[in-house]
Subunit: 305 residues, 2 copies
Amino acid sequence: MSDFVRIIEVAPRDGLQNESTEISLDIKRQFIANLVDAKVTEIEATSFVSPKWVPQLADADELLQGLPSGPLYSALVPNRRGLDRAIASGVKRIAVFTAASEEFTKKNINMTIEESLDEFKVVIQGFREAGGDFVRGYLSTIVECPYAGKISPAAVVEVAEKLLDLGVDEISFGETLGVAAPSEIQRLIEAVDKRIPREYTVWHFHDTNGTGVANVATALDYGYRAFDASAAGLGGCPYAKGAGGNVATEDVVYLAHRMGFETGIDLETLSRASLSVLDALGKSPTSKAQVASLASMRVPAESGR
Amino acid sequence: MSDFVRIIEVAPRDGLQNESTEISLDIKRQFIANLVDAKVTEIEATSFVSPKWVPQLADADELLQGLPSGPLYSALVPNRRGLDRAIASGVKRIAVFTAASEEFTKKNINMTIEESLDEFKVVIQGFREAGGDFVRGYLSTIVECPYAGKISPAAVVEVAEKLLDLGVDEISFGETLGVAAPSEIQRLIEAVDKRIPREYTVWHFHDTNGTGVANVATALDYGYRAFDASAAGLGGCPYAKGAGGNVATEDVVYLAHRMGFETGIDLETLSRASLSVLDALGKSPTSKAQVASLASMRVPAESGR
């Protein structure tokens, strides 16, 4: 098995869209430049969602112009209106978004799962025709839905197979609520691994209740080598206001390196990368590996405030 | 295997001794009363270490008088001078402290491992003769030492067997630095499990770098059912100033309950238990499960400041 672990940095998109404070275009650009300095190789930079719904990312078009070269950048495209903007921006990677729970897609994107897949078919085809390279498919609420409760592994696999049939290049399996214990991820993996090739699989854990790193460790144990993560764990949980967001990239990088994997990422540079964003959000670092790394460099953890 | 997970709450001792701010006797008493309200059943309340070395716990004798009944209380006894104070206090459970690393015991308690075991022999015998019930043996630096680097599982097992020979009732295996990945805990468990009965084994993880909960999950997977933990993750890491301390009890309780285990502890009450201590320390909660629990009750996470 590969000793390289892919980290897809999602803070600029998934992190900031879940923070209620808007971050200026300048700070976002500097943040991404800092991530590039830390040798992050894949970054989801923004979303072409309607600015009415997510004003935090209304600057998507501008942001994508003039980003530092090096990483692969992607942008979330929720529908065909977003696709037109994505194509105009020249971004070569997009992500589409659905869920394993009907209730969640209805409340979150106002479509059934089937309708969301129909929309993606058009989006993916249009993107390919316009010369796009790569499509990620987000599949969220893989363990639990805030409206429908527990989700069965079979329901997750069913939607995942449909996403593969649509021609996505990878699926990001999202534990959206950050509630799952590793035992639940083990059960889910036993189902997913039979049907979805590992090279198409990325795990996307949230850390609302402190189990995010344990879930990453579980997927690593099963041989998975690709994870979404968010610098400084940016991004709250809209279902538990004030609680944690995505699993922190610093924590995932620390874990991976300590287990002997390579990520290509410099943990110390990464730990500093988010400080001006945290400052703008009025937050202190909460990722343990980030705090420890800052402490070892004698950077006060409060310098993010 | 049992579906009950024992949690030994160590914040009043291991947590507060590593916080540089002194907490008043009143706040400590209220903290312990709050822990009792949360149905915590085992609490390490204080230490009979010399007040010269740990002024934060100089009130050990006073604190142990008049604690609410219910839990089993223990106190750390570093040497025979501490034993006299422990016996006078009437505490029925004590803990002794050594390490798997010679360099660590020399720097930390100014003894070789062998000298520390000789001292314990006297302490344990004196405690038994005075009618003491139960002795915990702390065995720290089980993965890495700040002075000697990596520690071999064989070295850990060797000291653990000597502790059992001395008649301790359980061994708390301490990952003092909070650096270990679950893969290292797996390797250590493979060695420990062959020689040390599980009913004598408690795991004591620190969460300096975000791997604490993952390490607890690993030990649970192997069938272990007893863990030290610290409310709110109190206790810094003296080797990384500003970094996290013990794994947070809230995170461990969340994990255990989510995996279907019982702990007897009420997570919401526990999440509030440390707020006045955090306030006195000028800290905000950093345990993810605590923050999420406070958020779900609409208690502002900043109410600890």
